[in-house]
């Protein structure tokens, strides 16, 4: 298992959050924590999520799968930011 911290920008459309959460459950992604808040820009929401991936699954793959959800505008891997913050 590997732990990753992702930050998503999504359109504030009905069903957008559900589609993301279902992707996690259908692809066997373990959600450690999740928080949703209005984003600063436009009609967007920001979703911060920490996930655990099974052996053999890559975060790059997960990011691409999230990226093809129509209402997801952007996905950033923040795993290393956190390490930096902790180190600072």
């Amino acid at each position: 298992m590997t732990r990753h911290s992702l930050s998503l920008l999504l359109r504030n459309e009905p069903g957008a959050l559900a589609r993301i959460v279902v992707l996690f459950s259908s692809r066997g992604v373990d959600v450690e924590s999740l928080s949703l808040a209005p984003a600063e820009q436009g009609d967007l929401s920001r979703l911060d999520v920490v996930v655990d991936l099974q052996a053999g699954r890559t975060v790059v793959q997960l990011i691409k799968q999230l990226g093809r959800i129509v209402d997801v505008k952007n996905v950033v891997d923040r795993t290393h930011d956190e390490v930096l913050e902790l180190g600072a």
Partner: protein, 568 residues
């Protein structure tokens, strides 16, 4: 233009070019059926919504356009779940329109309420529930664009009844001009370099090549390079079977030379394909010596199952055109072709006649292909007959084989053939079906008869759930638990059933009658035809890579392992 939500729906469908809808009315969707009554759009009234969904898939694959199906709320919508899952797995562009209970009733467990959007979240590319009738034209246009661009797939549009009934003003939708991903010139150059230096390359071609309409480009590139081609189950027809560079289908029931080409390759040029487990076998043992170029429109497919050395995100047509432009000379592949040619001569596709004197199913399919030719469209159910249809029909053009590859949905053949025939009325459409599969969806033959959709159905009646029985023979010591259908004892009598459904019913049980029966079926043009081909129950699909084993263990026939033996 003043209208209602329902009027806007039908007008929008007309404006985006929809010519046929497969569906069934009911309470929640009923408002839409009123303007449909006056529309130029043809509506085909199915007998089960699953049939509507598969018909939309068949239509889409036969025409290259978006297929449309429509159902009412609740059970009507849930009956579309299987075709949506099927279309999602095989990247088929369809739009499903469902009625929903009125907005104020949503979430109250109202009569015929089902949260179809949530139910279908993991099996749709996208979905909408419309709450303002003024949004309907835009949503329909977006649904069509989403379904047909990028990696195609199913899109659901859920319409509450009161939204359909509310007055609105129609504004014509603007269809977005689809943008295609721009290829990375660096990756194209890297790919060309790998191709230029490889000694044992192979084109591993998937369904994406058909979806992108890239068969011409593939042929040009293959002929320019002299590199062997294999076509997966979803790509049959993307490259002509008669072409000398074609080694056939790889995978669990692939040809020995096609599987060997992948296993012994030093370079896979994977085009619009997703390294499905039915192709790769045990993944760590798949193509162990090969570098991988992987081109796909969906970035999430690249390096999903097998790490790509060069990944190219793009439409297969653009990728191949770009590769053709930079590749200038043929590399010397003499040794490679000597090896593959040897396998092709030693292990051609073949079959034995059943010991009990019954018909060989492979022979029936071979003769249908021979007598009907490559201009026809062939659909298949799921099971042994599907694999034989992939192996023994000779395909020469893309879109001529329509089957359920990723989902493996029994019952696909008849409704998919109905949809294909509705979209391509001038082509002969043969559904190659199993005696088990046929009993799941044959009610759509009543639809075909009533609507004048003259499909032809060849039931490969082996009396059993043949594919399951084959596994029981090979892996469960011949303990045939629940695979006998009783269809050899005429439960049901397919000829009488065909007759009752308004079709011509024929039966054929001996080799000498096969050609005559096929020709008789071909001569019927005003009605659907069903032929009950009574075949032996013990025929098996070969070659075979047993599930969970590596491709090197491919058996040309039971106990014969050409690649495994070659290593010793």
């Amino acid at each position: 233009m003043d209208t209602t939500g329902a009027g806007a729906l039908i007008k929008a469908l007309e404006d985006v070019g929809c010519e046929v809808i497969f569906g069934m009315p009911g309470g929640a969707i009923l408002p839409a059926y009123d303007p449909l009554y006056d529309s130029k759009i043809r509506h085909v009234l199915v007998r089960h919504e699953q049939g509507a969904g598969h018909a939309a898939q068949g239509y889409a694959q036969a025409t290259g356009r978006v297929g449309v199906c429509m159902a009412t709320s609740g059970p009507g919508a849930t009956n579309l779940v299987t075709p949506l899952a099927d279309a999602y797995m095989d990247s088929v562009p369809i739009v499903a329109i469902t009625g929903q209970v009125a907005r104020s009733m949503i979430g109250t467990d109202a009569f015929q309420e089902a949260d179809i959007r949530s139910i279908t979240l993991p099996i749709t590319k996208h979905s909408f529930q419309v709450h303002d009738p003024a949004d309907i034209p835009r949503v329909i246009a977006e649904a069509f664009t989403l379904a047909s661009t990028g990696r195609p797939g199913p899109v659901l549009v859920d319409l509450p009844k009161d939204v359909l009934a509310t007055a609105t003003t129609y504004t014509p939708p603007k269809l977005a001009t689809p943008s295609r991903p721009v290829l990375s010139p660096v990756q194209v150059r890297n790919a060309a370099q790998l191709i230029g230096s490889s000694k044992r390359p192979v084109f591993y071609v998937g369904g994406g090549v058909i979806r992108s309409g890239a068969a011409q480009e593939l042929r040009r590139l293959a002929e320019k390079t002299g590199i062997p081609v294999v076509t997966t189950l979803m790509a049959r027809g993307a490259f002509p079977d008669s072409h000398p560079l074609h080694l056939g289908m790889p995978g669990m029931h692939g040809t020995v030379p096609a599987v060997a080409a992948l296993q012994r390759a030093d370079l896979l040029i994977a085009l619009g394909t997703r390294f499905d487990d039915r192709v790769t076998g045990l993944l760590p043992e798949f193509a162990p010596h090969a570098a991988v170029i992987h081109a796909d429109i969906d970035p999430a497919e690249i390096s999903k199952n097998r790490k790509a050395d060069v990944g190219i995100v793009g439409d297969c047509r653009d990728v191949m055109a770009a590769l053709s432009a930079v590749i200038t000379r043929k590399t010397d592949l003499t040794d490679w072709w000597n090896y593959l040619g040897g396998l092709r001569t030693t292990y051609p596709l073949g079959y034995d006649w059943p010991a009990d004197g019954m018909l060989a199913p492979q022979y029936v399919i071979e003769r249908i292909s021979k007598l009907t030719g490559p201009e026809a469209i062939y659909t298949a159910g799921v099971g042994q007959h599907q694999m034989w249809a992939a192996q023994y029909v000779k395909y020469e053009r893309p879109g001529s084989f329509i089957n359920s590859g990723g989902a493996g949905t029994m019952g696909f053949a008849v409704p998919a053939a109905m949809g294909a025939q509705a979209g391509a009325p001038d082509r002969t459409v043969w559904a190659i079906d199993g005696d088990g599969c046929f009993q799941m969806t044959n009610q759509e033959l009543a639809t075909c008869a009533a609507e004048g959709i003259p499909i032809k159905v060849a039931i490969i009646n082996n009396g059993n759930l043949g594919m399951v029985r084959q596994w029981q023979t090979l892996f469960y010591e011949g303990r045939y638990s629940n695979t006998r259908l009783g269809t050899h004892e005429r439960h049901p009598d397919f000829v009488k059933l065909a007759d009752a459904l308004g079709c011509v019913g024929l039966r054929c049980a001996s080799q000498s009658e096969v050609d005559g029966t096929i020709l008789e079926a071909m001569a019927v043009r005003d009605r659907p035809v069903v032929v009950d081909f009574v075949v032996g129950q013990d025929a098996q699909v070969w070659p075979m890579v047993a599930a969970g084993t590596g491709n090197d263990e491919i058996m040309a026939a039971r106990g014969i392992r050409p690649l495994f033996d070659e290593e010793e």
